[in-house]
Amino acid sequence: MGAATTAHAPSASHDTPDPNENYLTVTKGVWSWLATLDHKRIGIMYLVLVLAAFLTGGIFALIVRLELFTRGQTIIDAEMYNRMFTLHGVVMVFLFIIPSIPAALGNFILPIQLGAKDVAFPRLNLMSLYIYAFGACFALYSMVSGAVDTGWTFYTPYSTTTHSAVIPMILGAFIMGFSSILTGVNFLATVHKMRAPGLTWTRLPLFIWALYATSIIQILATPVLAITLLLLTAERTLGIGIFDPKLGGDPVLFQHFFWFYSHPAVYIMIVPGMGIVNELLSTFSHRAIYGYMFVAMSSLALAILGFLVWGHHLFVSGESEYSMMVFSALTFLVAIPSGVKVFSWIATLYKGSISLKSPMLYALAFIFQFTIGGLTGVFLGMLAIDVHLHDTYFVVAHFHYVMVGGTVFAFVGGLHYWWPKITGKLYNETLAKVAFFLVFIGFNITFGTQFIMGSRGMPRRYYDYLPEFEIFHQISTVGSWIIGLGFLTALACFIQSLMSGAKSPRNPWNSAALEWQTPTPPPLANFVKVPVITRGPYDYHLATEQELSSDD
């Protein structure tokens, strides 16, 4: 197609694109954004929303940490504290992390990496954005009408008896779930059917493999959360008794239902992050990802294993010893694909040509922190140790090392990496590096401390604590300020780039990947001509000088 598009096509004018036109300039006005079917603009709107959610959730986190700076009341009372940590969790999980990489960056990058003009179902794509926004409104409504104090896990029977605004919040999560499902359906169909000529499965970028694995989880796990939240709503309004022991129900059943989604959801969060790390490592070491097929398959393995380990969240809930044994054994298997990825990443650096640009720093920090996050998962997988560490700060630290040290670092790294592609502008590299080091140091101070607190016995979700934990809480809180400062610096860096950043060349990183072979920012149809793929995205030895050069 491409140049061959006939006069019937709605976008016939792109037969001979104006070299000065790109997707940002082709149409103007607010409505051209709100009603757009262009995956790039939808991706940007998602990006704005998830960044707003990240900022909101971050403020909640800072309030939580500040409250814990001293024993007893520091700034807020216990009831407010319980709302703050709940909102932090809900906002970060449902509004930020789940849509962050797939719906925001993925939306922008996936079709371009596939050499496609758009995702398979552009209207559905726009709809999923509005469903997300609609769900977010419910969450906002809950926040202003008393908020929720159940923890983001909504465990029954507390969530069915508390007087906070639980129903609007779970309806919000329910609705946002459908947004996530529709994105998954869209990406799955796009990866299967929209690949450019020559782009075989073995030439797919690993970010695509990761998003593909993620789509499968989104399609198969999210509906289970939806029905669980629906049953919870019915429990609260009608008292159907399924989760309420007073009515003959079983509160542990809720935990099974909830984690059947929410454990795979952890992989919805981390697998796309791993995908981004592949792109960063390859581009900034000018090397193919070592053991490409193993890395690709490890994403699928994680997607599948994610469905089989939910029971490890219930190790102290009174499951049978037999199921604990099975879930513990299966949990350990998660280490295998995770290990494959880490080993391959390290091997990718071997004999590379490594450039320490800010996105690469995020990728290297990802490897370091994900290794720690993964290995502390081994502690938690071991039954005898888990019984001590379960529901302590050790667990809090563990998943923040994976979710923040992993996913958020990958997300921010990816945002830096694709920033010129998205905006057409360069950012100040020095400022970006300063931001990185602040976030990196702050993060490790904040959560490294929490491992020790947790193994010493500090339970999570505590408003007050025993005096011997005070010093750790204070160090952790100071760390949170450094993280906050770091992210603000990154934000300043991006704003400065938007205001006065230099124009980006086509390929500022000299990458061999397909998305850098089209003009920056891309035209509405992504490519001037439909690309024909003759090599893998990481084959630097096969890329031409012209492809690797910054500009055309």
């Binding site: 019915a234 009608l238 089209t518």
Partner: protein
């Protein structure tokens, strides 16, 4: 990764073999700009629909698991309560839905053959059946409301109809202690299913209007096909709900 013109590439090189012979035909108006061929567009839509149906199954699976667990815990309650449901009404609804599934399939066939009038006829019959299904459901639910066979807290509170007064002399049925759980599950399962029927009616009416407008042809009938697929799923779920809820012995 060269960006030379795609015309030089054989169609087999395309991702999933969805042809790439652009010059061979014009770009018909039903073909969205980001697809190369009608076949690619059709296959993509179909794959997307199957993925969507997979999530629908997972959505209902939560309810089936809850049903399975509570039935294994309280088998006698479930057996006793099942007898309070109207088998003629449930069975009648099963027949209505099965028939409508057949008419939906016939509508697709008519669309494939380009028989616009027949497509409309079959679609209308399908929609009509969906309304009959909902009407029978309304009668059933009304009856349960009247007898106080309601979920959870409302169990045992009798209503004369959806908005009627509580009849003072009505007898409270003598039921096992956990009957409210059975009826909770019954109302949620049939309620969520009925919601799918209502959505299906909306979709079918939309498809019918598009057909009247002349959107479909031998070459392009994807939307009819997908709507029918969805309708078969609604039918399929009922095929499981009916014996599980109505036919316990």
């Amino acid at each position: 990764m060269s960006t030379e013109a795609a015309t030089e590439v054989a169609s087999s090189e395309h991702g999933d073999g969805a042809g790439h012979d652009d010059h061979a035909h014009a770009h018909p108006k039903f073909l969205a700009h980001h697809f190369d061929t009608p076949l690619q567009q059709f296959e993509t839509a179909k794959l997307g629909m199957w993925a969507f149906l997979a999530q629908e199954l997972l959505f209902f699976s939560g309810l089936f698991v809850a049903y399975g667990i509570y039935r294994s815990w309280y088998p006698e309650t479930f057996a006793v309560c099942s007898h309070l449901l109207s088998r003629p009404m449930g069975g009648g609804n099963t027949i209505v839905l099965l028939f409508s599934s057949w008419t939906a399939a016939m509508a697709v066939r008519a669309a494939q053959l380009g028989q616009k009038k027949n497509t409309s006829r079959f679609l209308l019959v399908t929609i009509f059946c969906a309304f009959i299904f909902l009407f029978i459901k309304y009668l059933e639910w009304g009856h349960k409301f009247h007898e106080g066979l309601l979920p959870g807290h409302y169990f045992g509170h009798q209503y004369g109809g959806f908005f009627g007064a509580i009849p003072a002399d009505a007898e409270v049925p003598d039921l096992p202690a956990k009957a409210h759980i059975f009826f909770g599950i019954y109302f949620i399962m049939t309620g969520v299913h009925a919601l799918h029927v209502i959505v299906g009616i909306g979709v079918l009416i939309w498809i019918w209007r598009r057909n009247e407008r002349g959107d479909f042809s031998k070459e392009y009938f994807t939307a009819v096909d997908l709507a029918a697929l969805y309708w078969h799923l609604v039918d399929l779920i009922w095929i499981y709900l009916f014996p599980l809820l109505y036919l316990i012995d």
